[in-house]
Amino acid sequence: MAIKIILILAVLALLIFVLRSHGTNRGGAYVKIGMALFMVFAVYAVIRPDDVTWLAGQVGVGRGTDLLLYLLVVGIGFFAISTYLRFKEIELRYARLARAIALEQAARREENRPVSPDTASN
């Protein structure tokens, strides 16, 4: 019985953590709804594992554990992709920031550069 309580508490803690930390992403709201549904399902699965097995049977998966495993694989895949995209976006912003700094420094350096005959003619 203790394991059920621990799992439910862990899932709740995770839910709160995800909801609070998953900042200002555009698609963030959908991710949160999906996560919430997944957590509710997880709690339900812990309380009534037989129902999950029944559900697994309905969708053609042997056991409830297998069903959970499959869902987990899908979840991780989704997570990997969204994280990858998020990283790409952050990388781009970071590049633009670095570029702005580089361009400003270069402009300042050019101002201070002694004017040679070649550059003066342009």
Binding site: Y84, A95, R99, A102, Q105, A106, N122
Partner: protein
């Protein structure tokens, strides 16, 4: 020789200290305007560039070649009188004569961008594995085929102001070649190909793109399309 003061060479530089000054000085004899974007080199490339007349823009951190090219484009298009822009390599594999020919075409023909191609005439100088990788890249690029580009990963490109204004490379790494092909297609830039010679020096071979990097490029292209 024609006045080339409205042309800007954009040169991304990453750890090219042994060759950069020589390559730049050679290019500067024909093209007075060169901007080197030092992409966070740790080998004193910036110091080498400073010995030449090339302009220097320094990324505070390493961002990747695509990002360096974009920085160079943004720098060059701010310069008064800049009309034509060239992506040029720091390691000496691109030929100044090819650039001159490409600029000549931009001046005289109704085109916005000229892309270099290695697949014209004799291609025996291209290392076999490299040839295979490049051919595969071309075959896998439906846009490249539609635009009749035979060498979608050629880094030597020349383009006019329209293209420079609209250029916005978002792949920081090596994925910029397919991204530029995408931009050509999306923005309806008039594109032409120019046969060019790429000199595969030992130095550039050692630094060249590996087959594995091609996997990165493919993956990035696939993800970008979905967004």
């Amino acid at each position: 020789m024609a006045d080339q003061s409205d042309v800007w060479l954009i040169v991304p530089v990453y750890n090219e200290a042994p060759v950069i000054a020589e390559v730049m000085n050679h290019a500067l004899q024909t093209f007075p305007n060169v901007v080197c974007v030092d992409d966070g080199s740790r080998d004193g490339s910036a110091g080498q560039i400073a010995t030449t007349k090339a302009h220097l823009v320094q990324h505070p951190v390493n961002l990747g070649q695509g990002a360096a090219i974009q920085t160079g484009v943004e720098y060059a298009r701010q310069q008064p009188g800049a009309a034509f822009f060239v992506n040029f390599d720091a390691d000496g594999q691109h030929q100044v004569e090819d650039v001159t020919a490409m600029i000549e075409r931009l001046r005289s023909e109704d085109i916005d961008i000229v892309v270099g191609t290695r697949f014209h005439g004799d291609i025996s100088h291209i290392p076999k594995l490299k040839r295979l990788v490049l051919k595969t890249a071309v075959t896998l690029s439906p846009r490249g085929r539609r635009l009749k580009l035979t060498d979608s990963h050629n880094g030597l490109r020349a383009f006019n102001r329209t293209v420079a204004e609209e250029m916005d490379i978002t792949s920081n790494g090596m994925g910029h070649a397919p991204e530029i092909i995408e931009m050509i297609d999306r923005n309806k830039w008039r594109v032409a190909e120019q046969p060019v010679n790429i000199v595969y020096t030992e130095y550039s071979m050692a630094k060249g793109q590996s087959l594995l990097n091609g996997v990165n490029i493919l993956f990035d292209s696939a993800v970008r399309r979905k967004r």
